[in-house]
């Protein structure tokens, strides 16, 4: 068991790291959007505009904090907090590397290796809808409440295929712990493929991806904040750092979901065909596992941005239809096949 000091250091590290990535993502998204659309994007603050998030942060902090006169004051204040809090706490059970040995002590690169990490993720993931719907209700604005309601319906619908895809992965790996799932993906599969989840669960991966985009309220499922229909959705009335919390929470959610996809389907910190722990020292191996994991996550972070500027938004009934009529039956079939597979090979 690790001491309290190490745990606190790990918490602080992953907290600042996610915050850093979330702030950077705001810049990467705008720059990426610009380059994809034949524009330039923010390129003035610092080299290539990399300090743009800093300038945005200063602006958000120094802006006037406006609360609408007829808003429900408590719910209005509670909304962003309830949205950001689960987003930040969800990462606690997701690993960010294997382990690092410092001074004879083995430090696991994960805040808490709980045996029910999977359930914790599902529970915390569905918490974030409270922030959206309370913020939307508290704003006393028709667009806000519409955004909040849309978000609720969408999150509830997509939680089902999301959970079912996760369940198939749990069946496959035979564990609830995300760290053990990462260990289960070492080695090769069928003699030539890396032993990654995507090769064993291709359908599950696609379902999980689609549901993850819906969970994060990202394009093509950004119905709750559809600019062209309902102004800005649930954060129409929000400004200054309250809005900042909503935006930060969204990017932190994206980071957690990307890390989850990598952990479940892309072998976490394992490289294909190469076992890094064989020829790297304990400290170097820890850093290398962290780096490999982060590079994989970075690709999915970029994919979130990339898809956003490629795919147009779905109509609302299409979103619901896709969720209930396609994804849930497919997820059930996937679960059934996985169960058969596990039953007959075990």
């Amino acid at each position: 068991m690790e001491g309290w000091g190490i745990i606190i250091i790990k918490i602080v590290f992953i907290w600042t790291w996610t915050l850093l990535i979330a702030t950077l993502m705001t810049w990467i998204e705008r720059r990426g959007a610009g380059l994809i659309q034949d524009r330039l994007g923010p390129n003035r603050a610092g080299p290539f505009g990399i300090f743009q998030p800093l300038a945005d942060g200063i602006k958000l902090f120094t802006k006037e904090d406006i609360v609408p006169e007829k808003a429900h004051k408590i719910l209005f204040a509670l909304g962003p907090i309830l949205f950001a809090l689960p987003a930040f706490s969800a990462y606690a059970v997701v690993p960010f590397g294997d382990k690092i040995v410092l001074g004879g002590k083995e430090i696991i690169l994960q805040v808490a290796d709980v045996s029910v990490g999977f359930l914790y993720i599902v529970a915390i993931g569905s918490m974030s809808v409270y922030g959206i719907v309370l913020g939307g209700w508290g704003s006393n604005n028709k667009y806000s409440i519409l955004g909040g309601l849309r978000s609720t319906a969408q999150l509830i619908s997509y939680e089902v295929p999301w959970g079912l895809a996760l369940l198939a992965a749990v069946l496959l790996y035979g564990t609830f712990s995300l760290r053990d799932m990462a260990f289960a993906q070492q080695g090769v599969f069928l003699g030539f493929l890396p032993n990654w989840g995507i090769f064993k669960q291709p359908l599950g991966f696609i379902l999980f991806m689609v549901a993850a985009y819906a969970e994060a309220n990202r394009v093509p499922f950004d119905l709750p904040e559809a600019e062209s229909e309902i102004v800005a959705g649930y954060h129409t009335e929000y400004g200054s750092m309250r809005l900042g919390l909503y935006l930060f929470g969204e990017y932190v959610n994206i980071y957690t979901l990307s890390a989850l996809i990598v952990t479940l389907y892309f072998g976490a910190w394992n490289l294909p065909y190469v076992d890094m722990s064989k020829f790297l020292g304990p400290v170097a191996y820890g850093l290398a596992s962290f780096l490999v994991f982060f590079l994989k996550v970075a690709f999915f972070l970029w994919l979130f941005v990339w898809v956003r500027w490629t795919v147009p938004r779905f109509r609302y009934d299409q979103v619901m239809g896709l969720g209930w009529k396609s994804l849930i039956p497919l997820a059930l079939i996937n679960l059934f096949i996985t169960a058969l597979f596990v039953q007959f090979t075990a």
Partner: protein, 215 residues
């Protein structure tokens, strides 16, 4: 003619949509890569679709209509005679001209017998139509290539004679003077076009008449 709408039957791969999304991702990636590479090219104006304004100025056509200037002739005399034609022609009524008579001993300064004692242009009202330039009988007022005309106070946007002459000096030193206008032919247009258009019009009239008769 409007074309009839043909509804396309979607194949299974179209309806699954994932393959289409991957195709779309390929397209956006192409754009991203092109612009990303363009960002690292040396020199100004690297990204072909964007002009980064303060560093990256556009080429301006010689006949561009920017800030005004009052011209001097080749002997260094003011061309303007203060007739006020420009003020008359101005649709925005932004030009004020006062005429003055050239005193003896001042002939080296002014080209005509009269001159403009006062010449003011309110740049806040000007619409840069160029009518003053066309109206001027002496070719004394010209719209130049200068277009960065923002000032901190509205008073500074009231250009006086000294400012307009300074504009001329600046344009001359930068070699941005407008090329001389081609002389406009004063005679009637050549008679070639006239007979061609007449029979057509006549034929049209005949047709119209026939049409009315039939109706």
């Amino acid at each position: 003619m409007a074309r009839p709408v043909v509804k396309k039957e979607f194949s299974l791969s179209d309806r699954v949509y994932l393959i289409e999304i991957i195709k779309g991702l390929g397209l956006t990636w192409k754009h991203f890569l092109f612009n990303f590479r363009a960002c690292f090219r040396p020199g100004p104006h690297t990204v072909p679709t964007c002009w980064q304004y303060p560093e990256d100025l556009r080429e301006i056509a010689p006949i561009f209509r920017g800030a005004h200037m009052l011209l001097l002739d080749e002997k260094g005399r003011e061309k303007c005679v203060g007739c006020g034609m420009c003020a008359r022609a101005c649709p925005a009524k932004c030009i004020t001209v006062k005429r003055g008579k050239v005193q003896e001993g001042e002939e080296g300064k002014y080209a005509g017998k009269t001159y403009c004692a006062e010449f003011k242009i309110d740049m806040l009202r000007c619409i840069f139509c160029g009518f003053c330039e066309e109206a001027c009988p002496k070719g004394a007022i010209v719209l130049g290539q200068e277009y960065e005309l923002a000032e901190y106070t509205p008073e500074k946007c009231l250009y006086d004679k000294a400012r307009l002459l300074a504009n001329y000096e600046k344009a001359k030193s930068e070699g941005k003077l407008k090329p001389a206008r081609k002389p406009v032919p004063v005679e009637a247009p050549p008679p070639k076009a006239a007979p061609k258009s007449k029979p057509k019009a006549a034929a049209k009239k005949v047709k119209e008449k026939e049409g009315t008769k039939q109706a």
